[in-house]
Amino acid sequence: MKITENLSKEEKKMLNSMSLRSFAMHADRMGPAKFHASGFTFCMLPAINRFYKTTKDKEAALIRHVQWYNCTPHAENLILGIVASMEKEKSLRGDDFDDQSITAVKTSLMGPLSGIGDTFFQGILRVIAASIGIGLSMQGSIMGPILFLLIYNIPAVFLSFYLTYVGYSLGSTFIQRVYESGGMQILTKAASTLGLLMMGCMTAMNVKFKTTIALSIGKGKPIALQGYLDQLFKGLVPLLITVGCFYLLRKRVNINWVMLGIFILSIVLGLIGVV
């Protein structure tokens, strides 16, 4: 597929810069409430600075992107490309373009791309590379680690650049077409639906809670509370905690207090032996 033919020189420069930045996307360590938010924003800076001229617009874009983000390295470059093309459209259409759709598209892509990416990169590519590498290393050959790195990284680096271009090219033409047919509202609604569905999925996968409390009644085996909680509704506590956080944030409670609250609650639960 010829993905570079309709791109200007500046656009190619921007995409290359974003792909290069994506090498350091996962460098940040800002806790589980942010994950790689600053990394994603760091990679988006070339696009943000290119498309937005006023400080106010840039601020809005930055605020949009410093939210919880996590995805498999390399595979996520597709998101980078698509989001860049949406930011371009947003900068052209202004308030006409609902910025909720950018977040929605980004959110709905993280989960599935991680699923595909983890299987491909960690499950297949890494295991193939390691099995070849281990054999050679065991014989004392330096080719072991070298081949391991080459087999894994050559396809990975190639894909990270390629996917940024694919995301950007597909994204911009697709979004432009949808906009002109008057279906932007439909797209935003669809993306939000998919986004919320994937949020539910990610909540279930990433928010974890398990109590070790067991009530000993009489001489019988102690009854584990977690078993009852699971019978009532599996994942009840993670769901309630997430919805609770959402409620508090909607009530404009400062995010720091919410995080601190969860942190203290967890430590207290640990110290009194609930978890």
């Binding site: 360590r29 800002m30 589980p32 760091f42 800076l45 919880w68 390691a130 539910g200 990610m202 994942g235």
Partner: protein, 273 residues
Amino acid sequence: MLKAALIAMLVMLLCYAGSYLTGNSYIDRPIVIGAVAGLFLGNLKLGLTIGATLEAVFMGALNVGGVISSEPAIATVLAVTFAVTTNISQKAAVTLTIPIGVLAAFVLLALKNGVMIIFAPILDKLAATNNQKGLIFIHFLSWFIYYGIYAVMTFIGVYAGSSAISSLVKFIPQNLMAGLNTAGGLLPAVGFATLMKILWDNKLAVFYLLGFVLTIYLNLPAVAIACIGIAIVVVMAFRDKDILDLKKKKSAVATKVNNGLDQKQQEEEDFFA
């Protein structure tokens, strides 16, 4: 021992921290880190074999999400260092480093789920003021602090030796560790809540519950849920498009009515539209 400890620290910085600047290139996997440690310590062959052994051991151990059980990287560096600098066997070196891996995992847990969350509000503030330099700075600052502490731990691990470390592991209260683990499990909720605040729509809220239930009860992978979601969304979008088209036609008809069409004809137009 000081020289060996410094080398071990350098290898950790170079490989473990470096991996996150080179696109998660896996230079932090035991097979690579063992070879590099061996090379620097002057016994490449030993490094290669220990690295390969631990790579096989930790083949399935990937840190998924925020949960860490043991740290292969630090275990490898220490195993190679001990095997090269002392005259314990290769096997014993590998075994000895296991408690250190657990200790390292504990410190990482406390860092990741406790200390590092102080950066989150700073990040929000920097974004709100378009402070891009600051944003890039704390992006890499958080990297430097996190892996800097980790490298210092490696240094201490080698310098203090493993007997001191295994007694330290026993010293950490179990319930504190459990509390930190729980915090790591619950804190992503805040991140999701902020995203939900953006996406929320009362009419669509039920899809959040659907995604949750599909995952927790049916154990469906994210890809499968996305496919189900796409099916639902496509059907919804086509219906919405039909409604949109109808509305467009209706307004077109309305203009025609103004141009002299009577009520009955308009209804016919609507019906056949």
